[in-house]
Subunit: 324 residues, 4 copies
């Protein structure tokens, strides 16, 4: 299918590039590094070759979220966003942007988001999970009270946000000790990101801002598969969940999924049966994943051609109000 | 459907009953307590009413796994197993047993398992996740080297084991801080149990014992939904995973799922498309779940009547070599 | 689900009521007869009880299509449409109308359709398959050249049409000889209607009128299940098919399905995977089918609540531009 | 997947080869003709290239069923079966046989079936729909009383039969007039074959012979998609259906499907949800279909690898008791 739109496509800047080294085997690192720093050569070639017309780009992970020195987090976010804006200006028909935000300082994050949306024309923001604040071991999740005003600003801008994975701190997840293969995209990404997403849903965020839209990659980080069970259990007792509705209602009203890195038909089918095809969108997760893998699967996976057009393109145009 | 067989059905003894209090709202606790301690009245009534002919019973969670005083763990396991054996003897056509094991002492656990299978006629064992050993905060997962001989004994007995959820220790999972609603069956159970199951699969356990069979409840604790992604990532680099094959191969050769507590068609469908209907079995999770919910769903869920008979009954007869 | 809209809901007038006798066992006929002639009592009660807010009504089958005396066909159609218009006027929030048309005379049919849409406010027309023209054995299908102008009129009115089943003439389908149980809705309806629908698609009708929309009941009369095979075969040679595109393209661009009389999840799933959920709509086929059967299935069938709302209501509002 | 087994694979002899000409465009006929007459060159090459280890071969369509001169039908059947037996003897690890039978003479057909099974080692028989008897226009379906003894013989041999499509006689299906593109595998094959299969199921054949097994190609000729509706309608009144059970019960107890010529995932999924994966088997429909199309689809279609092995190989080994 031509004209696809992809939403979880990453770049890096010099200040953040080293964060991605852990996700490549040593012999592959130089290649991955080059791809992350590149905008105009291999990235566009790959998009052309595999029918991706437009990509909304975002900084690598965890990047700004891991910079516990707050002023530096603010500075790096701004730098990354400015560089991204320049690249978008050179290829406005091919690239859009998600803002990187210094969530360590909710006020600064809100101001940077306003700047990115209102001045740079970005489509929202992408956040790599929790942030570290002030010291390596102090973390913040965005259901915290200190983010109330931030979310009001984000909602007022009427742009979606992407909740992207990061690895948990080793000090906080001893369950992976001795099993490094479970870290990263194998399993820990989905655990960490699903819990953060559920915390947001359970916090009442989407009661306060019913129009706010969250995007989850990897076909939902496992949530659609177990969402019935979540609500079934909560119906027996809310146990401190602040939100007014069921998790499934938020999932169907405030959440969109992308196919990034999860190119699998039964998983897509299960997600479609929980969410409907209006809330699923194509993505690659470039350069951690290959356009070839994503597109060869998506272009032939046995769904209706009508759904392929929606998932591959139309849903993103509608959600982000793209002018394509 | 009549003649169903259920596999994740719990009882408690006085020494373990308090472990379940946390899973009931205060006003529901007396009812749950009674149901856990009962064998012959409400339990059999419910089974009769909802077409469950035979149930393999197991101790509540975490029970023995949480008794860090090792001699006491050994004693409580033995007591629970003896009591269960008595009940089975009274209703051999209705009840079977999974052994509770003092995994804190792998040798003792192996001997107790032999006793349960060879003398008491149990169908295998059910373990509630990691065990605490010696002190509250010291935990052991069963991919550890100290369990090598235990697994050899278990495999030689040619009986399956059930990897059942328990909650993580709060000290080891700060991610749930402030969100108690995510603990237990809402979400933490699946996270904890899926990781333990993956650790076993990744450890080479099923390479050493290719006939050994593990049962997972709740339609697979989220693993089938993401198993393609796991193997896709591992194909790029094993990062210390010891096992020889892909996780999906173990899933399709060494794992069975039950429907306990996850009465949802799209999830069942996704699991069937990953595992095939030969490796899925009906279960309730009584008394934490109701027979009425499990059976009214399972008896009408839109799968082939041929699959209903297999999932509802025949697969369990085959796996456990039941004489029904 | 409340607020459902149903699209294949039938009434009869005295001139056509006897056509339905064959579809009821003798002891059931009086009940069916009364239901077909009723508008305001049992019909509205049933709709209320089962959450159907609005029904587009249509004459029973075959009715006008079987009146080979052309002037009488014209007269009966007009009479049925007038009576329907009166009932709609009494309950404009509950009933809409599909025109019955004297297809025996394409010109008269076109004029009656214009009258029904422009003056009576009908939502399109419903046709019970082929018509008999002039004599009992002379039949016409609507891919015939004589219908070219009729279709131009129909397309200009920008209203969908419903291709509804009728039984084939015994003289033309000896394959059912000795097997009356295969006639009617058991099997012959789907065979007859699918072929007529395919003839229309293959005739180039939707090339000439790309905006024209056809509705098929019973989840597509078997076409979605085999549409891939149809196009796969036609790719090897068109063998006289006049249309420019593939059948699957017409199915996805010019056809909508309803659930009338086919309350089955795997069939719905297969249709959704061929058509997408935007082109499927709830219907009952009252009074030949029961609201209780249709609604109890549809309200609980395991699709996304988002799809349930679309299929149950929103798709019909959009297709027929309903003011609800 | 290697080791696949295919069940609807055709050859022709000089006496029957012309029957297939209608199914090829003129410029393709020489190629198709050569493939039908070939056993050892292109056929085995294709099987090797696409991982088909073993094929049960059958005569082309309609062949013997269309020879209304009864003695000649008997003679041609015998000739075809003898030639097939010779080829099987040359490649016993690659080819098996389905008998062609002169159904025009039920006695002769029974005797020829006994000869084929008992002396030639065939796996059952394949019949191309109704036969013409005595004159071009006189047809017989096998639910007729004259076939009672034939079916007793067939059942006693404990071998399955394959109900294969043929085109209806033009004189008996005027509905296709002017639409030749609907004849053959596009649509008429499924209509004709589904009705014949339903006639058999409705006749009580499988009540008299509950072990008898019928194989249907093309994922069931449309029956699984509508089987719920068939039984739903029949529950309101049997209207002369002789059989004791529901059609769905026969489908799940006496029918197996193959994938021949219907390489489509949603259709496979729908059939699996009606029948279970134990009753579906891989097939190509060579040389009317290509091994490349069948295998490239089947080897990658997103079902469990466990189901792929069953559908691709193990189910056929079990059904036909193959020594592979
Ligand atoms: Zn990513
Ligand atoms: Zn349990
Ligand atoms: Zn109808
Ligand atoms: Zn064939």
């Amino acid at each position: 299918m031509n004209g696809k739109i992809a939403l979880e496509e990453h770049f890096a800047i010099n200040d953040t590039i080293e964060d991605s080294r852990v996700y490549a085997r040593p012999e592959m690192w130089e290649g991955l590094r080059a791809k992350l720093l590149d905008f105009e050569t291999e990235r566009l070639d790959q998009m052309d070759e595999h029918g991706v017309e437009y990509a909304i780009l975002s900084l690598n992970s965890p990047a700004v979220q891991a910079i516990f020195d707050v002023p530096r987090a603010i500075e790096v976010a701004r730098k990354a966003n400015d560089l991204l804006a320049e690249q978008i200006a050179r290829h406005p028909k091919r690239f859009g942007g998600f803002a990187a935000l210094p969530m360590q300082d909710p006020d600064a994050a809100a101001r940077e988001l306003e700047r990115c949306v209102q001045q740079l024309g970005f489509h929202g923001f992408l956040v790599n999970g929790f942030c570290q604040v002030g010291s390596e071991d102090r973390v913040a999740y965005y259901d915290g009270d200190q983010y109330r005003d931030f979310w009001s600003v984000a909602a007022a801008l009427k742009k979606p946000f992407y909740m992207h994975p990061r690895d948990p701190l080793a000090s906080r997840e001893p369950i992976y000790d001795g099993n490094p293969w479970l870290c990263g995209p194998t399993w820990a990404f989905a655990v960490e990101t699903s819990i953060h997403a559920l915390r947001l849903m359970g916090s009442g965020l989407f009661d306060r801002h019913p129009e706010l839209q969250m995007v989850l990659g990897h076909l939902g980080e496992g949530i659609p598969f177990n969402v019935w069970r979540i609500d079934h259990i909560l119906r027996k007792g809310r146990r401190g969940m602040a939100a007014e509705k069921e998790i499934g209602e938020y999932l169907r009203s405030n959440v969109h999924l992308t196919t990034s890195g999860n190119f699998r038909a039964p998983t897509l089918l299960s997600s479609m049966l929980e969410m409907g095809s209006d809330r699923i969108m194509f993505s690659v997760d470039y350069p951690f994943e290959k356009h070839a893998d994503a597109a060869s699967w998506f272009d032939t996976v046995h769904i209706s051609e009508n759904d392929r057009r929606k998932i591959g393109r139309d849903n993103a145009i509608k959600l982000f109000d793209l002018k394509l």
